[in-house]
């Protein structure tokens, strides 16, 4: 127990401000390196789409790199490249997010870029056509991966009403149908200060970081408030199954999902611990040395039934899935591995972890939090993720919630989540070419 008590505590307390236009801003100091990482989180993602427009938020994310009247395409790209910036964007089911990590003295340039493209992206018809090919290419690259193909189907089967069923990137057919005007309308509706979070972490006093951000974003006008989609997923009354057969993979795959609570649920910290207990805190194939004491690794990899295993609980706005995944060794049947996974999940629900095992889980979980916050980019990302999903209001609060989880909490949440009625099972079955 002495070892558990000596874990350093993540104590970041943000400086926060809300602008008159509704933009919520938070700043964290990170003084160990001369960099600043800023993130803009828009409350729009796959959940805001309807059939016929799936993939629109993701398509739009690409178009935000195509210039504004003030900064034509390529202008700020090159400038940020010159600074050695780490910068990119991603779209999820819940949010669309843009970030730049830059040398501290270049913070104003990155602010200028983000404030400008929040309201002034050009989104021309010509650029829309050119980018359509890139996005189709991205989709095709994902389709080459059997794990993606199975995951997409698993998600589609798991949700009968909630837009989480649609995923993020959209179908190739709908990507091809996306219009410039549709994209622009989506942009104007959702990209506004009152529908976003601004997070910054970096090498300056937090109030100073916020002052500069307020100067950049303050002049922007708010938009008519967005009504977030309400399509609650009705209860599920029995296991669902899906099989994907393709020649595109050599090894069989199993994914088993269970409906799991949203990030703001009091059980979300225990679910994070449950994922570590089953799959370890770090993933990474045969070369990974850590996470090998996890239950699924011991039951499937050490025994020669699988090559890799994973267990994941994602922080999401609405109830989503707790997913266990295994890539089977050649000659091993899906039936056998499915049975072993379900047995392991059942054990988690039946008996609390021993003190020794729970100590390892807790230690991995809390250390992983410290590793994340020791990197400026990930410190800002994690904070934004907690806020955007409703998991916690600060890094410190989330850390305290993780630290407060008990072995009995983990057992209890396993019991509540690992129910046959909330289960969806997916098999990827490789076919001979």
């Amino acid at each position: 127990m002495a070892r558990l008590l000596c874990i350093p505590v993540v104590t970041d307390a943000p400086a926060s401000r809300r602008l008159d236009n509704g933009l919520l801003m938070h700043a964290l100091e990170a003084r160990h390196a001369p960099v600043v990482s800023l993130w803009v989180w828009y409350q729009v993602g796959g959940r805001n789409e309807v059939p016929g427009t799936t993939g629109m938020s993701h398509f739009l994310e690409h178009m935000l790199f195509k210039g504004t009247p003030k900064h034509p395409k390529g202008d700020l790209d090159k400038l940020l490249a010159r600074y050695g910036a780490l910068w990119n964007a991603f779209t999820s089911e819940d949010v669309t997010c843009y970030f730049e990590t830059v040398p501290a003295e270049r913070y104003p340039v990155a602010l200028d870029l983000e404030a400008d493209r929040m309201r002034n992206a050009l989104i021309t018809a010509e650029e829309t056509e050119a980018e359509r090919n890139v996005i189709v290419s991205e989709r095709e690259g994902l389709e080459n991966d059997p794990s993606f193909l199975l995951g997409e189907q698993l998600q589609a089967v798991a949700f009968s009403r909630h837009p989480y069923a649609q995923g993020v990137i959209g179908s190739k057919e709908e990507i091809k149908l996306m219009t410039r005007d549709g994209l622009y309308a989506h942009y104007r509706r959702h990209y506004a200060p009152n529908n976003a979070y601004f997070i910054v972490a970096g090498d300056a006093p937090a109030e100073e970081l916020l002052d500069r951000a307020a100067n950049a974003f303050g002049p922007l006008d708010a938009e008519v408030p967005i009504e977030q989609p309400k399509a609650p997923e009705p209860p599920q009354y029995g296991e669902k199954r899906v099989i994907v057969r393709r020649a595109g993979g050599a090894l069989p795959i199993i994914q088993i999902g269970h409906k799991a609570p949203r990030a703001s649920d009091p059980r979300s910290a225990a679910l994070s611990a449950l994922a570590v207990a089953l799959g370890g805190a770090t993933a990474g194939g045969g070369e990974a040395a850590s996470g090998r004491s996890a239950r699924l690794y011991r039951a499937l990899v050490d025994t020669g039934l699988a090559t890799t295993v994973d267990a994941s609980y994602q922080l999401m706005k609405d109830p989503y899935l707790f997913v266990a995944e295994a890539h089977l060794r050649p000659g091993v049947t899906h039936d056998r591995v499915e049975r072993v996974i379900l047995e392991e999940l059942e054990k988690m629900a039946r008996s609390a972890l021993s003190d020794e095992e729970f100590g390892r889980v807790r230690r991995q979980m809390l250390s992983a939090s410290a590793f994340m916050t020791d990197t400026v980019t990930w410190r800002a990302f994690r904070f934004g993720q907690l806020l955007a999903t409703g998991a916690a209001s600060s890094l410190g609060e989330w850390y305290e919630r993780l630290a407060a989880v008990t072995a009995e909490d983990v057992r209890a949440v396993a019991e509540s989540v690992f129910q046959e009625k909330g289960r969806v099972v997916g098999w990827f079955v490789p076919e001979q070419s």
Binding site: R3, P8, V10, H32, A33, P34, S37, G74, D77, K78, L80, A81, R82, G84, A85, T101, V102, P103, A130, E131, N133, V134, I135, V136, S137, E138, E140, G141, E143, N144, A247, G249, A250, L251, G280, G284, G285, G286, E287, A288, A289, S290, R292, S293, R298, D302, G304, T307, R329, P330, R363, S367, A370, F371, D374, T375, T377, W378, E431, S433
Partner: protein, 418 residues
């Protein structure tokens, strides 16, 4: 950066960058045991040996070692590359002693128990079979087989050849361990919330019993130069995208022209925004979701390749556009602005990498492994800035002749060429 160095009695070199205010420390242990040091004709033995080192020692079985590592919450992995087998890890600063002791146990005292060797063999065989349906892996394998002659250490990917992996014995792995896993030539880099003396003391304790065996055998590998353009297409069933590898054999990290080559790589294709080919292929023409080039650093001619993910109907255009951009460089049609952009990008990245302990450790590693001098971290940005346009053109002419390349394409069948 405040870099402290120390050499242990067994030759292991230790470099530390304390970063006040951080909770954790990143650790990189690079051992000269990559493909370059692999037994000729046995590609895959180096990686198998490394994987088996993670499956139990003479003092702890696999389960006990894994439990101990997870008990301190460390993240760790062991990868084999062209030059080194690199143990990379992160732990809380207060756990560094325990982490180094566990790493040292795996490195110095692996048991190579038959059961565990068999497990990593079967895992590797399964991965090779999976890779046979993975377009990126197939393109990479095909390109290497096009460009490097039989017996060359880089002809196979680090995962190796199926036949070699199937036939490898525990004794072969022990033999490779005796010859290659040694402290002379190895480097331990630590960055983060630690004190330098703490690291020196802990590494001295952990690695005290590590010894080098007989002197390494000198290795002479003939230079590889392509005489013509080589091209091979591998059809991988039920795929929608083609993965493309276009490239040349590179140059050793110890070659005095390497820094100029790194700048040339950035001018050419390393980045979507800062490089000519990346910008044109993805941003202007929308031909690919990803396109980037890499130049490997080792004692030999590591691959210098452009990788692209492209719809089959766009493959020919993406490749020809990339080669057109290269021809412009070779013909001297490259501007001062192109060069400055590439240099700014490479220098700027050094600053941004300092945001994390792992980034700081990575900044140090190359200079320490290749013994580029104690002032390398300060000198390197100046060396990047000193590269001239003439050098870029000369490097491209020498190492990237557009008409003498290797081209591997893996994915669906390509449409008929005109």
């Amino acid at each position: 950066m405040d870099i402290r160095r120390h050499r242990l009695q067994n030759g292991l070199r230790v470099a530390v960058v304390p970063i006040p205010g951080l909770l954790s420390a990143a650790v990189l242990l690079a051992i000269e045991a990559g493909q370059w040091f692999e037994p000729i004709g046995r590609p895959g033995v180096a990686r198998l040996c490394s994987l088996a080192m993670l499956r139990g020692t003479t003092t702890r079985d696999a389960k006990t070692w894994a439990d101990a590592l997870d008990a301190i919450g460390a993240a760790a992995r062991l990868d084999v590359g062209a030059h080194a087998a690199t143990f990379s890890a992160q732990s809380l600063g207060s756990d560094l002693d325990a982490l180094l002791e566990l790493m040292a146990d795996a490195v110095i005292n692996p048991a190579f128990a038959d059961k565990e060797v068999e497990l990593v063999r079967q895992q590797t065989v399964a991965q090779i079979e999976e890779d046979a349906r993975n377009t990126r892996a197939v393109a990479e394998r095909t390109w290497r087989e096009l460009v490097y002659p039989k017996g060359h250490p880089f002809r196979a990917r680090p995962i190796g050849d199926l036949d070699v992996v199937r036939a490898a014995t525990a004794e072969q792995l022990r033999d490779h361990h005796r010859r290659a896993i040694r402290p002379d030539g190895a480097v331990l880099v630590v960055a983060g919330g630690v004190e330098a003396q703490q690291v020196f003391d802990a590494s001295a304790n952990a690695f005290a019993t590590w010894r080098s065996g007989a002197a390494r055998e000198a290795r002479t590998i003939p230079e590889v130069r392509l005489a013509t353009a080589l091209r091979k297409i591998e059809v991988v069933p039920d795929k929608t995208q083609s993965d493309v590898v276009l490239g040349w054999p590179g140059l050793p990290r110890t070659d005095p022209r390497f820094v100029a080559a790194r700048v040339t790589n950035m001018v050419f294709a390393a980045d979507t925004f800062a490089s000519r080919a990346g910008h044109v292929v993805r941003d202007e023409l929308g031909l690919a979701y990803y396109v980037f080039s890499t130049l490997g650093g080792s004692r030999g001619q590591s691959p210098w390749v452009v990788r692209m993910g492209v719809n089959p109907i766009n493959v020919e255009r993406a490749v020809s556009t990339t080669l057109d951009e290269l021809r412009k460089i070779v013909e001297g049609k490259v501007s001062e602005d192109d060069l400055e952009l590439a240099q700014d990008k490479l220098v700027g990245e050094l600053d941004v990498a300092r945001e994390s302990p792992a980034g700081v450790a990575s900044l140090l590693l190359e200079g320490e492994v290749f013994e580029l001098g104690p002032d390398y971290a300060e000198r390197y940005p100046r060396e990047l800035r000193a590269v001239t346009l003439d050098q870029v053109v000369e490097i491209a002419r020498t190492f990237l002749p557009p008409e003498k390349h290797g081209l591997a394409i893996a994915g669906p069948p390509l449409p008929e060429r005109d």
